[in-house]
């Protein structure tokens, strides 16, 4: 259904034109370009954070609690005298990994389930539909709370809970994308060419569903980070004194009404920045994948 039927004069492959398209969009849309830069920065902090920070994020300095931001402590210190900057930077890895693993899990299982349901229909479809409906019948954050509370208050369970509540998004998307292509001409042609069902699904249909899925992954990363931070904010999963953005905001909450703003603002801002980056990235990818549906 692409409307770009016009033939580019050069014989360059779609890969090259894809890159050109990407470069063009980045140049035209500086916001997406910024998102890519921020993403690289966050990735860097997650990988090398512990070696970059000036202080041990766990070390307490009883002598200097609740210091406002200064040259020595850029983001100030908390009530135990720990350096907020170091804690914020080191927390990047944990927050990012929770979200990444959760999203990866829900992508793999969700899209496999959805693709099967969309391709075969019938009882697989009905069964998976029931399962997803049941998950979606809960307010998702509340379900995550329930799962973590029941399965045990650990970081792994935060990951599983986040993966479970994200699963329906991938499954439904994969189902819809596979379903519209199930009887497309090229799929029928593949059948006539002697391809088996799983081959058609894996090699012919699934690659076509990837672009919208990538957008979903990016947007979902932001949401997963928010969820995990929200859970630790109410005391689930990550335990103090581990540095993690949600828990740091929770600890700082007691001091906000007495004016020690930096305990909340810096970890909160880091959280916002990370989520913001993934959301912008998702929007940018959407432009790349589907220029007609730019929002």
């Amino acid at each position: 259904m692409t409307q770009t039927a016009s033939t580019p004069a050069s014989a360059a492959g779609a890969q090259a034109s894809g890159w050109r398209q990407a470069r063009y969009l980045l140049a035209e849309n500086p916001v997406s370009a910024m998102a890519f830069v921020l993403f690289a920065l966050i990735l860097l902090l997650a990988l090398f954070g512990p070696w970059l920070v000036p202080y041990d994020p766990l070390a307490t300095y009883a002598g200097e609690p609740l210091q406002a931001p200064s040259a020595a402590h850029w983001f100030g210190t908390d009530n135990l005298g720990r350096d907020v900057f170091s804690r914020v930077v080191v927390a990047t890895r944990l927050d990012l990994s929770i979200a990444l693993v959760a999203v990866a899990l829900s992508f793999v299982f969700g899209s496999a389930l959805g693709a099967m349901a969309g391709y075969y229909g019938g009882w697989i479809d009905r069964l998976s539909g029931r399962l997803l409906d049941t998950i979606m019948a809960f307010p998702l954050f509340v379900l995550a709370m329930g799962i973590v509370a029941a399965a045990g208050n650990t970081v792994e369970n935060i990951v599983y809970a986040t993966a479970i509540i994200n699963l329906p998004f991938y499954a439904r998307m994969a189902r819809a994308e596979v379903n519209v292509r199930r009887n497309a001409g090229f799929v029928q042609a593949a059948r006539l060419s002697g391809n088996s069902d799983w081959r058609i699904l894996a090699l012919h249909i699934f690659p076509n569903t990837l672009p919208p899925m990538m957008v979903q992954i990016s947007l979902n990363m932001g949401w997963a980070i928010l969820n995990a931070a929200g859970l630790s904010f109410i005391g689930l999963g990550v335990r103090p004194p581990t540095p993690e953005w949600g828990i740091m905001v929770a600890e700082g909450a007691n001091f906000i009404i007495s004016g020690e703003w930096w305990l909340v603002v810096f970890p909160g801002a880091a959280l916002v920045l990370a989520v913001f980056t993934f959301n912008l990235l998702g929007d940018g990818l959407r432009d790349l994948v589907d220029p007609q549906r730019r929002t």
Binding site: T7, G13, A14, G185
Partner: protein
Amino acid sequence: MQPALLDIDDLTIEFATRRGTVTAVEQVRLRLNKGETLGIVGESGSGKSVTSYAIMRILDRAGSIHRGSIRFSGIDLVGANERAMRDLRGREISMIFQNPRAALNPIRTVGKQIEDVLREHAMATRANAREKAIAMLRAVRIANPEGRYHAYPFELSGGMCQRVVIAIALACRPQMLIADEPTTGLDVTTQKAVLDLIKDLTREQRMATLLITHDLGLAAQYCDRIVVMQKGRIVEAADTATLFSSPQHDYTRRLLKATPGPESKVADLLPEGDARRALASPPNPEAPVLLSVEGLSKTFGAPGSPTSHRAVDNLSFKLHQGESLGLVGESGCGKSTTSAMLMRLLDQSAGALWFDGQDIGAIPSKQFARHPLRAQLQMVFQDPTDSLNPRWKVRDAIADPIRRLGGTGDKAQLRRRVEELAENVGLPVELLDRYPHQLSGGQKARVGIARAIALNPKMLILDEPTAALDVSVQAVVLNLLVDLKERLGMSYLFISHDLNVVRLMCDRVMIMQAGRLVEEGSTERLLNAPEHEYTRTLLAAIPNPPVPASA
């Protein structure tokens, strides 16, 4: 000479795109008099629709009138402000579009939608709007107009939706009607009904009509004068008889030739001397039977349940080796279901299928994918874009059946074979490394054909292989198909709704209606002396261009 109702001069329209400004319409000049019907004919991208949008001043945001004037009964439409235009639209100039179902508000009853126009232009009051809307529905010959007044578009057929659109357009008795491909996508019989309706109503009200179409035959039948557009320019303008008897411009001549008529042969579609012209050999009645179908039926839904629907009902026929058999019917008649069963993509509910002496009907469709006979039964699909995987290179698309069924593991050999196939279908070899979206419609059609013949099948089902193509491309592809059939000795089952194309391509024809075969016979006999009432209706509905005097 009285002043024209519509007078367009030097109209140039530009579109701002990512690649810079594109001129869609250039220096167009045309006149339309009161009560006259003018056809604008052109292939896709000729700028015919854009011109009509400019008259209504409803171009997309990206498009703008760069130069020129449009005058409608003395009013300058290019300079008119939006308020003045709104007053004219629907009251003085109306427009109807293709795809009638999408042209109606899906969640408003059709009666209300007619009332909206009447009330907007003060042609009705709150008290009598409903009565007038029902009168309009009656005028466009909708049965039970009082009941249909409450219907939503999704409850009506495509043809009925187009009648409602016409009712909206004509409700305020405008002086001019613009019809932009009003029947594209509708069945021929519906097409005829809709166009006859437009003709009758505009005659009655002495309205001028601008009919925009890609179909020369259609324009010939309904228009007093015709302008031919190509790449944004008018190449020729003449009254209908003159245009067909002595076309002046080369493009017009080619277009006329490429439009299949009742007398043409497939080679005639291409200019004389064109190397691609193909000649079909006469049918051989002695040839052995290749495919034999007996009592083929397909029922969807549980038998006996109210939703159960018999799509194909007790179909029997034979296809001989080297024969080309046509299967003709309107949408929903069961053509596609039939072809899916013949291709073994779908299991039949009842009936037997014998192919090349083997009972393939007994093999479930799931297992047929790996059956040796799979290679012998191939298909060319209707929509060349939809039938190519957008993420696969052309080379891989053609190679796929050979890899899966051809048993060729040798890379160099495979490469040679794919290039040979490309040559066979007239596809430049350098295009093999492109992706489908980088090809034109005709090129994509060739890829589809190359893939279908990759395994040297004995039988090919051609499912409206040219329905999505412009006539000049269709001419080339049809000749290619005839040529390949001769060279490779294939049998064709040619599925189409277009009897003129079937006439060119087929030795025998079957007419299908509501899942049943209603008539079958040699093309010659069936089209010249149809026996069944339905065949006669179909034949009468085809718009035919007048036979050029020179032929």
